[in-house]
């Protein structure tokens, strides 16, 4: 598996520090694992790793790389703010010979047909919630990284060379126009 990250040839202050290099290895491994498995837990791991960089001028390229991968991993047809009919508890099919309650254990249902339908409904609800959790988490990572870069840019004086270099990095790392615009919003 090829390493995803480009070779950094325009390092910022502390970009080549030992800590940053350790994070870079962690991020690279996590992104490669994500590419192989599709499991977004590896993107969360990459995000946790870049979040550990506490020098404002370090790791910008790493953060942009994680952001780019995270953005591409999103299901853009899925709106995390829409109602996806997900509930904390599920009600079993009502009626029959037994009094029933939403949120009960399936094993407590005597009728096997009712119990099976209840188990299927719970599994479907869980599947929908897992999808929601994934998209919410990716949205959260994306929003946090966008905010992180924008805060760094906003904190820089107008003619700061660092600011110019970050803008160049955004241009070279981020491929989606919409994402670039979000990063550069005043």
């Amino acid at each position: 598996m090829a390493i995803i990250l480009p070779i950094v040839d325009h390092s910022f202050a502390d970009e080549n520090s030992t800590d940053t290099k350790v994070v870079q290895v962690s991020v690279t491994n996590a992104l490669n694992d994500f590419k192989q498995t599709g499991d977004y837990a590896y993107l969360v791991k990459a995000w946790d790793a870049v979040s550990s960089i506490k020098n404002a001028q370090s790791g910008i390229e790493l953060k942009l790389t994680v952001l780019q991968v995270c953005y591409k991993a999103r299901d853009m047809a899925y709106d995390p703010t829409a109602d996806h009919h997900i509930t904390l508890n599920v009600t079993p099919p009502l009626g029959g010979r037994q009094s029933l309650f939403s949120g009960m254990y399936p094993k407590d249902i005597q009728d096997p047909v009712v119990r099976k339908k209840f188990e299927e409904d719970i599994a479907e609800n869980n599947r929908r919630e897992q999808k929601l959790n994934k998209e919410r988490k990716l949205q959260q990572i994306q929003d946090a990284l966008i905010n992180n870069v924008r805060v760094v840019l906003k904190g820089q004086p107008k003619e700061s060379p660092f600011k110019k270099r970050v803008i160049q990095l955004i241009d070279s790392t981020i491929t989606e126009k919409e994402l670039k615009e979000k990063l550069l919003e005043p």
């Binding site: 599920v90 309650f101 939403s102 949120g103 254990y105 929601l132 107008k158």
Partner: protein
Amino acid sequence: MPTNQPDCPCGCQDITTENTSYAFVAVSGMSVSGATWVTNVPCNTYVVGLSCSNFVTVTASPNPSIDDQFLPAGWNMTGGISTTNADGSTSRTTRLVDAGKVGITTVTSTSGTSSESVRIIVVFQITNQCVATSPTNQARTTIGVGEQVNLWLLDSPNGTFPWSTSAGSLSSTNGTSTTLTAPGTAQSVTVTVECSCRSTSLTFAVISPSGFLFTNGYAYGGASPPAQNWIGFDYHANVYVQPDSVNFGNISFYESGAVPITTGYYSSPPYPSQNHPPNGPHSVTSTVVPGLGTDTGIGDEIGGSATVPFSNGQFTWPIVWSHSVGNTSQVSVETINEMFTLTGSASTGTLQIQKGASGYTLSSPNSTPQPIQ
């Protein structure tokens, strides 16, 4: 006549005597470099972030435009620090303000009856803006557990400054900006940023969820005797994290397991042993609805049925609701009862189902549950 003497094209007056022309020189304006003009503030005010080794330059412009050396004796400039021209003479049109000292400096240039002033304000101050756009007050310093706040040094001073926080975490610990992520437990959090010549702090009150609010959504699937040999229904409830004054979008929440408390009809087996399984973690939206709280975006399906013959009785699950932030342990918030109450029997029976503040009731022989909220 010197070459840089004025020709008075715009308002100065020439008085020509027999041999000499005299010009009245006025102060036409003041320019400032190294600080930012502040709109809607009186007294021609500029602001600059504290920068220990920098200076703000204030330059007065004479009208007509003439060299420093030809300014009349009545030309005067006060405030700030004097500076020298390239030839070593003291500049009469330029003054410096030390950006390494917090405070207000007024620089004034006077010539005869004309006068111009500027105020230079050197600040070392943190500005804060909550990342979440709801509640609409993003400048608040009361924030929810796990909530994020962007922090900047006012007017982006030059240099790099160490930041620290008493709790929670910062996205960066140096520079002119950072983002605070509040801790997972309620407490006071102070963020401090330092300069070699000063430090400044900002304190936040971090609060935990005070409760979970259930509101009635819609009810469905109602049935009762004599049309059916059971009474029951479902309803959907919306769930909000309170209070509505902060954003709890970064928390997860949980329902505990619960053993039922039963009376009457529900006291007989198998009901007393029918426990409630725990669930969670559940995520939360970043939208705060005024008057309600942070919308979880995940509803609850609440329902049940009782089979004929039934009689008076109550079945209650006391469910402990808790929250967590990131990988921190769960913190209990409150106990919410999920309650099923039966009264009467068959054709005169009523089933009331409640969870928290939400609930519906259905009486025989109807099939449409009525809200009790």
